[in-house]
């Protein structure tokens, strides 16, 4: 067939159904040379990479979001359609469309190929997962398919090293196939059947292994048990596996801050470097081990095909609360930390479901709340055994988790009832074949998440920490003053100013002052209270001494009210920063912070007013 030869750097776009192995092919082509960002104005992920073909030609590859159809139903599909048509402002029309289809699922994927062909743009078809197809006895007559389809067809195995060599060779030849011609009135389903009859032999409908695995993993009883067990293992790994790395990071930053304190001349710069720069950076990076471990498991579950199965098992329950089965993993992750939880909402395709999930993720009891809860529970809740084996304090802590979860479900239910847009949220979820996750894809996926976290979050956190440092440092203690330093700072003044507002919640001025630096991260509140009460020493001694002090100075009502406050209050700027990054909207940040503060105030008010009257 006739082809145009192109000599300038090529731009190609990968398109295809979800689960066609497109992203694996993208990883295979570009390796780690990828840039992940969002498309301007929307929260759809934009992935671009480059590779140099054997001839030295530079090829830039755009991995377009997976789509079932160009009759777009979601923001991702609109992006895919508009870029293929060259209609999206700021995005060049690709020289070549590489349409990726899973050779084991041609019945579904060929229809989309035909839809893309209808666009009349130069394209080639990459028949992916040829190894899996061969293993299932599926035989595709490539020459015949190419002839019948009128589009070059190239076989690829995206998960195997060198599996894209034929595709690279074809692209490298610089041959842009002519625009395919297609009849506008063609019935696509009938055409798919014709192509399958002509070029494909398929002995079995679905894979036997998949059928068998689904019988167990989706079983009403065993399925749920396996899900619970999987989640238990993941959490064990996140909490126990991350601790050594987190301790090492904390120790490292403490050491660096100590070095600055010991060797720099006294002054503002020293305080700024030690507290705002090193301390601030440390407070964010300390979450990296948990985030990486959590994402490792999420990626394994996603790549293996288990994630949609978990969503299947829980969809009915979650949809009652205005969510979807896909919200489960992000919300569960939020119990470690809301940051990876909110980042994991990318697997929720429906925008409304995704926003709801993001909004309630901060209510899940993250690990940073534990130091605060432990301080208050050990100071105010008497230890006694329940039914001989259970610890009462342990039960109270467990209760805090339940309050967080039920609070979140209540908020999502209220959102469901008050939403103006009452149209159905479809599930329509494909359960892909099970696959062994490839190490390469796992590594690239993890690297991407770590980069997003470090690049996008640290900037905002750094700015916020600097601001907090300024607030807690200036104007500084006058000569001869005796109170704690923070009392003479702007933060201290704000704390005192806020006191009348928080007095109905039973908060004294010390709590109000500690709430300000506690905005950086929840666990900071413990050390901030330590500063206000002038308790010194390591983290553990501060917590113990503080426990003694507050158990004599605070009432039970104040302690419980503060716990209620911590269930809801958005005392974590990293979470707000990640919401900004993931929703691309300051309004969403304001809505989240606003409703969380409102709920926290009301909950603490009710708790204090009731308990103080008992």
């Amino acid at each position: 067939m006739d082809a145009t030869t192109i000599t300038h750097p090529l731009t190609i776009a990968l398109v295809g159904n979800p689960n066609c192995g497109k992203t694996a092919l993208f990883n295979q082509l570009t390796g780690a040379r990828q840039k992940v960002a969002n498309y301007a104005g929307v929260t759809v992920e934009r992935k671009e990479g480059v590779f140099t073909a054997p001839s030295g030609r530079r090829v830039s590859v755009l991995d377009l979001p997976g789509a079932y159809s160009l009759e777009a139903m979601s923001p991702d599909e609109i992006i895919t359609r508009d870029i293929c048509l060259g209609r999206r402002p700021g995005e060049a029309m690709p020289d070549l469309i590489v349409c990726v289809a899973d050779a084991t699922n041609l019945r579904l994927h060929l229809r989309f190929v035909l839809e893309v062909k209808k666009l009349g743009r130069p394209m080639i078809l990459a028949l992916n997962m040829m190894d899996a197809a061969a293993a299932r006895g599926i035989r595709v007559d490539r020459d015949r398919l190419e002839a019948e389809l009128g589009v070059p067809v190239i076989e690829t195995i995206a998960v195997k090293s060198g599996g894209a060599a034929a595709l690279v060779g074809h692209i490298d030849a610089g041959l842009i196939p002519p625009k395919p011609s297609i009849d506008d009135h063609l019935d696509l389903h009938a055409e798919v059947r014709r192509l399958l009859d002509a070029a494909v032999v398929m002995p079995t409908r679905t894979s036997k292994i998949d059928d068998r695995l689904d019988r167990i993993l989706l079983h009403p009883v065993f399925g749920l048990m396996i899900l619970a067990l999987t989640m238990f293992v993941v959490f064990q790994a996140v909490f126990s596996g991350a601790t050594p790395a987190m301790d090492a990071i904390t120790a490292g930053f403490d050491w660096a801050a100590g070095l600055v304190r010991d060797h720099m001349p006294d002054g503002l710069l020293k305080g700024f470097l030690a507290d705002a720069v090193i301390g601030g950076l440390g407070s964010v990076i300390v979450f990296l081990p948990q985030i990486l471990i959590l994402f490792f498991f999420i990626l394994v579950l996603e790549e293996s095909g288990y994630l949609p199965r978990a969503a299947f098992l829980l969809d009915h329950l979650m949809s009652k609360a205005g969510l979807t089965g896909r919200s489960f993993i992000p919300l569960l992750s939020s119990h470690a930390c809301a940051i990876p939880g909110i980042m994991a909402t990318r697997s929720i395709h429906d925008v409304r479901d995704r926003i709801t999930t993001i909004l309630i993720a901060p209510l899940m009891t993250c690990s940073a709340r534990i130091p605060v809860y432990v301080l208050l529970i050990s100071a105010f809740i008497p230890e006694r055994s329940v039914f001989g084996v259970l610890s009462f304090r342990g039960l109270v802590l467990f209760g805090m988790y339940l309050i967080g979860i039920s609070g979140g479900l209540m908020v999502s239910t209220v959102m469901k009832w008050t939403r103006r847009d009452r149209s159905e949220h479809p599930l329509l979820m494909e359960l892909p074949s099970y696959r062994l996750p490839s190490l390469r894809n796992l590594a690239i996926g993890l690297w991407e998440r770590a980069q997003i976290f470090m690049k996008r979050i640290t900037g905002i956190i750094f700015a916020a920490n600097t601001l907090l440092w300024v607030l807690t440092t200036f104007p500084g203690k006058p000569a001869g003053a005796t109170g704690p330093d923070i009392d003479y700072s702007v933060a201290g003044m704000i704390g005192h100013l806020l006191h009348p507002i928080f007095a109905p919640l039973g908060f004294n001025w010390q709590i109000c002052v500690a709430l300000i630096p506690g905005l950086a991260a929840r666990e900071v509140a413990v050390s901030a209270l330590g500063t206000v009460y002038a308790v010194q020493g390591s983290e553990d001694t501060v917590s113990q001494a503080l426990g003694h002090l507050i158990s004599t100075q605070w009432s039970l009502a104040t302690a419980l009210s503060l716990m209620a406050w911590y269930v809801f209050a958005p005392q974590c700027m990293s979470t707000l920063a990640v919401i900004r990054r993931e929703t691309n909207s300051w309004k969403m940040v304001a809505v989240t912070a606003g409703y969380l503060f409102g709920l926290a105030y009301v909950a603490a008010l009710i708790v204090y007013q009731i308990v103080s009257r008992l």
Binding site: Y68, S69, E71, M73, T104, N105, L106, R107, L108, R111, H189, M202, R205, T206, D210, D211, D214, R215, L218, H219, P220, V221, G223, L224, P308, A311, F312, L313, L314, D315, H316, L317, S319, G325, E424, P426, L427, L428, M429, E430, L431
Partner: protein
């Protein structure tokens, strides 16, 4: 009979996909996913809670559909 009422593991053929409203995008998407007249379809599983969602096998693909989605697909049992 609709796909929602089809017993487990009973082979059937799709007769049509109904629109619940004028431009029902869910029905349109179902057709795009392969729910077209004459296509063999089977319910191979149900969710553990309330029997939802339904696990559907059509063509070479498995889909999870909620009850109100499956209700749009009219089917006919084979044999």
């Amino acid at each position: 009979m609709t796909l929602r009422d089809l017993p487990l593991d009973t082979p059937a053929l799709v007769t049509e996909v109904c629109n619940t409203s004028g431009g029902d995008i869910i029905s349109q998407r179902l057709r795009e996913l392969g729910f077209v007249p004459g296509e063999p379809v089977e319910v191979v599983g149900r969710g553990p809670l309330g029997g939802e969602p339904l696990l559907i096998r059509i063509g070479f693909t498995r889909f999870a559909l909620r009850g109100n989605e499956a209700e749009r697909v009219v089917v006919e049992r084979i044999g």
